[in-house]
């Protein structure tokens, strides 16, 4: 179960940089038993952008609940947060 691709999610966070963005997102993931497998952050045209690969195979909540939780955090942080299953990127960008 654990390493199956449908359990992988990509979280993309973007907006004006501020203290505590990574902490807040990572905290939500930890609370929900979501393992962070990879993380990358960068500044693009003065905007903070973070990409995070998570594994939800041990999560107690459903994908939908996790997504709602993260999007709520996004509103609080005034950041745009996209939460998507990783398969869409694998399908679109690999032959």
């Amino acid at each position: 179960m654990e390493n199956r691709s449908e359990n992988k999610i990509i979280i993309t966070v973007s907006g004006v940089d501020r203290i505590g963005i990574v902490a807040k997102v990572a905290n939500i993931l930890a609370e929900n038993q979501i393992n962070i497998e990879d993380i990358k952050q960068t500044i693009m045209q003065d905007y903070f952008v973070m990409f995070l690969l998570g594994d939800i195979s041990k999560a107690k909540k459903s994908f939908k609940e996790i997504k709602e939780c993260l999007q709520k955090a996004g509103e609080e942080l005034q950041m745009e947060i996209w939460v998507q299953k990783k398969q869409i990127f694998d399908n679109m960008h690999n032959i």
Partner: protein, 455 residues
């Protein structure tokens, strides 16, 4: 441990957020062949129950997929067996009643259109086909979600000119009895040559005779993505590179559709059917096929060069998309509806895009004359002439062609019709005023063409 490519993620999000990449439709295709009965009420009951049984989760499942991938699924729809066949076993035909049942079922499962209120009559009509065609205007006027299509020609059978004559009158009447809504009845009615039996797009979607019990068909979209990709190329980039870029984008769009289709079919416990790898515009700014022509270097859709641009676009979309899906079908290619494409509306309003140019473009596009509003006083014979011409293009070139035109009641050239939503709005375009009455009224069939000695 798996990893990711951040550029790919940003590209995907950008395609969805900025350039309107979406899944245009997930269409449940369903056979109603087992709903026949001698009593029309019994047919209605069987139809209703079967649609509810198979489609009750369609919109919920689509919503789940939308959430998981953050890609909008714009329309959830149903396509059924041509209703002429389903209602033909009844002692007393009542196709308007069956249309109302279909409409109610569609409403109750939350889909915005249900296609298949139609018949395949390229060689001739059965009694049921005739009764159905007769009932089309009333059925469209009394329902909201019904779409109707009639196949009147094919490369193998020729053109059924009796049906063409009949469809001219039917289109005219469908518009007239929905005059209070700019003739919207005609916007949900289409005549075909070489109609595909697995098309997920309205108004021509139906579930053909060679299809399985049910299947999930998907129509993708994304003209805005193609436009943006072409605009990002350096000025003066050659056609070779432009074609390759379109292929790459079409692959990405289609592979997303394939993923959505397979996931959705699995969730619903039904087979995945086909991907219709199309570029389908919407009236939204930036979601326009005409915009792609401008990105290619044409001042507006309709300029000389438009047919060549469309031919290359249509072909490259198919080439790129075909590798991304195991089963491609439907209408696959670039749609050129007028009222549903902001760039086409603008070109038509400015007079840059004429009816005759559109007809030429249909020889290389994915379908045909689509969502074109014409003056309300256009005679049914002239409409039949328009249909005959379009069917001839499809028949000779072995392609699907279609006519969906709206003779807008009480409107003349310079006016416009407004349907709203995906159906959009369109200026009234002028049509040739010369009479073709004595031609279309001859009746009979135009024989199937020879399939060799091509020129």
């Amino acid at each position: 441990m798996t990893s990711f490519n951040s550029d790919s993620i940003l590209e995907t999000i950008n395609m969805i957020r900025v350039h309107h990449l979406d899944i245009r439709t997930v269409t449940l295709a369903l056979s109603l062949r087992d709903c026949c009965d001698t009593d029309v009420k019994a047919v209605g009951e069987k139809i209703y129950n079967k649609i509810i049984k198979y489609a009750k989760n369609l919109t919920t499942m689509a919503q789940e997929i939308e959430d998981e991938y953050s890609i909008p699924i714009i329309n959830k729809r149903i396509a059924v067996t041509p209703i002429s066949l389903v209602g033909e076993s009844c002692k007393n035909y009542d196709y308007v009643y069956l249309a109302k049942v279909l409409d109610k079922a569609a409403q109750d499962v939350g889909v915005n259109f249900i296609g298949g209120f139609g018949a395949l009559v390229e060689k001739g009509c059965t009694r049921g086909d005739e009764a159905l065609i007769e009932s089309i205007p009333e059925a469209l006027a009394q329902t909201e979600r019904i779409c109707s299509s009639v196949n009147v020609a094919s490369s193998k059978a020729g053109i059924n000119m009796d049906a063409v004559l009949k469809m001219g009158k039917t289109i005219k009447k469908a518009a007239e009895i929905t005059a209070d809504k700019d003739g919207i009845g005609a916007a949900k009615l289409v005549c075909f040559c070489n109609v595909p039996s697995d098309n997920p797009f309205m108004a021509g979607a139906f579930h053909g005779y060679g299809e399985p019990e049910c299947a999930l068909n998907v129509g993708v979209s994304g003209p805005g993505v193609v436009r943006a990709a072409i605009e990002a190329l350096p000025i003066g980039t050659s056609f070779d590179e432009v074609a390759n870029k379109i292929k790459q984008i079409a692959y990405k769009i289609t592979s997303t559709g394939e993923l959505v289709g397979r996931e959705m079919a699995q969730k619903m416990g039904i087979p995945f059917g086909i991907i219709d790898l199309s570029l389908a515009p919407t009236p939204e700014i930036g979601d326009s096929v005409a915009g792609i022509f401008q990105a290619m270097g044409l001042e507006h859709a309709g300029a000389h060069g438009t047919t060549a641009a469309l031919a290359m676009l249509n072909d490259a979309v198919k080439k790129g998309g075909i590798m991304a899906s195991s089963h491609v079908g439907g209408l696959s290619g670039a749609f050129i509806p007028v009222s549903e494409d902001a760039g086409m509306i603008e070109a038509a309003t400015k007079g840059c895009l004429t009816f005759d140019k559109l007809e030429a473009m249909t020889s290389v596009c994915s379908v045909g004359l689509d969502m074109i509003a014409i003056p309300g006083d256009t005679s049914s014979d002239t409409i039949s002439g328009i249909i005959a011409d379009e069917m001839a293009i499809g028949m000779i070139n072995k392609k699907t062609t279609a006519v969906r035109i709206i003779p807008a009641p009480n409107k003349k050239e310079g006016d416009k019709v407004v349907f709203g939503g995906l159906l959009g709005e369109a200026p009234i375009m002028s049509v040739n005023k010369l009479s073709c009455a004595n031609f279309v009224q001859r009746g009979g069939r135009i024989p199937a063409p020879i399939h060799s000695l091509n020129n």
